[in-house]
Subunit: 220 residues, 2 copies
DNA sequence: TAAAAAATATGAGATATCTCACATTATTGT
DNA sequence: ACAATAATGTGAGATATCTCATATTTTTTA
């Protein structure tokens, strides 16, 4: 991680204004920083003392279980807070966040914690953010319980396909969707057999958009 | 639902003080109300305009899926907010909440919405509440992905057993834990076979606390 | 208190999903 | 450019979990 200064700082602050999040001047407490691809923003198990607001990039939220199994919980995309739970509760054991691409964040030191926690403007925005987070997590949880993998995969393919082509890394996606690598491949093969997808050098091409939607929409 | 007045109102407001949630006088906007067992606090799909704070009782949060399957998402217990998401976002489609026991709530009408959303004291408390909600949901989600039912059931039995006896209603618990009724019974039978539990008239008695903990603790 | 509804119980067979072992192909670091 | 590492692909057998059918018991309601 390194801190951007001068023109870079100004550039981002103008491109992604953040003043209206606060009713006081945040500038003295704010830095613009850049994480390289693959870098860890939070180490799992640490006690972070910085609030981030991601403005560009993409990252993965991880946690390791007692049994050694690792869950990829969520993809985090701009724009969003990170470390906000740790701001509210003292010294909380945190999950790991690793960038997927180069990522730009505003970092806000906890030296203005008091001010933040007394600022209705900021708190209101944080409430909305946390409310959405809770709602999203809840729906992810219930969908996972209520639908077989086939439907969830169809929904995910729709979501992540680019120009009708699905080409994500199996090793990541099976973690994300919470099934074994083997099973992911089985179901992809099954989709190919049913002529919903076709496997080519360039990725899995969607042949039967309608059928895929049907499988996916059983969810929403 | 009916509204409590006079002595009842005073009794609860003294037993569960709530003034320090707000930096203004909440009394004019507050009612104490009582829901009977089995009554619906929010109908699924409605657009509620009341914020509740449950002070006594227990309820269930439900949602119905497109495929007709119903998920029991969570047990809600005092003390906690209900309808807070709807306060933050306009007119939001809501999940259903049904009481399990007689339940007492403070109800706060949205006529003081502006005041609430400008009150740092209240917002800060709401943030903490929402943060916990999000964190809990996340860990429920990941545990569900990472552990077989056997472990989750062991954890749930530990949590809900009273004096070493587990006696929940199977029909509810299988929904809550997201497995079929049949499978729940299978695993309970298996626990009996392994002499971890013993089935009696009075419920399932825990015989092997140690082994149960072992199964459950693989989770935490 | 009888009838209706809900909850409990169990068997049998089908599917979804996992683990493990191993071979092949891409990608990356030096 | 080559070795090391990561990602892909497949088979076989084991388990976890589901669906459905049906019987019995308990609880609720008229």
């Amino acid at each position: 991680m390194h801190i951007l200064t001068a023109e870079d700082r100004t550039y981002y602050l103008e491109k992604y204004p953040i003043d209206d999040f606060f009713s006081f001047d945040i500038n003295p407490y704010l830095e613009v920083c850049q994480f390289e691809k693959g870098e860890w923003i939070f180490q799992e198990g640490s006690f972070p003392d910085t609030l981030y607001y991601m403005i560009e990039g993409k990252a993965k939220l991880y946690m390791t279980h007692k049994n050694g199994k690792v869950s990829l919980i969520e993809y985090l995309e701009a724009s969003r807070f990170m470390g906000e739970i740790e701001l509210l509760n003292e010294a909380r054991y945190t999950k790991g966040i690793q960038t997927v691409t180069k990522t730009i964040c505003y970092s806000i030191t906890q030296s203005c914690k008091e001010k933040l926690l007394a600022d209705a403007l900021f708190l209101r925005r944080l409430c909305v953010f946390l409310g959405e987070k809770a709602t999203n997590m809840t729906s992810k949880y219930t969908q996972n319980q209520a639908y077989p993998f086939e439907n969830r995969l169809a929904a995910f393919i729709q979501l992540s396909a680019d120009q009708g082509v699905y080409k994500e890394k199996h090793t990541e996606i099976c973690e994300y969707l919470g099934v074994s690598y083997r099973h992911l491949l089985y179901v992809l093969a099954q989709f190919c057999e049913e002529r919903i997808l076709e496997k080519r050098k360039t990725g899995y091409h969607i042949l039967d958009e309608k059928r895929l939607s049907q499988l996916a929409q059983e969810i929403q």
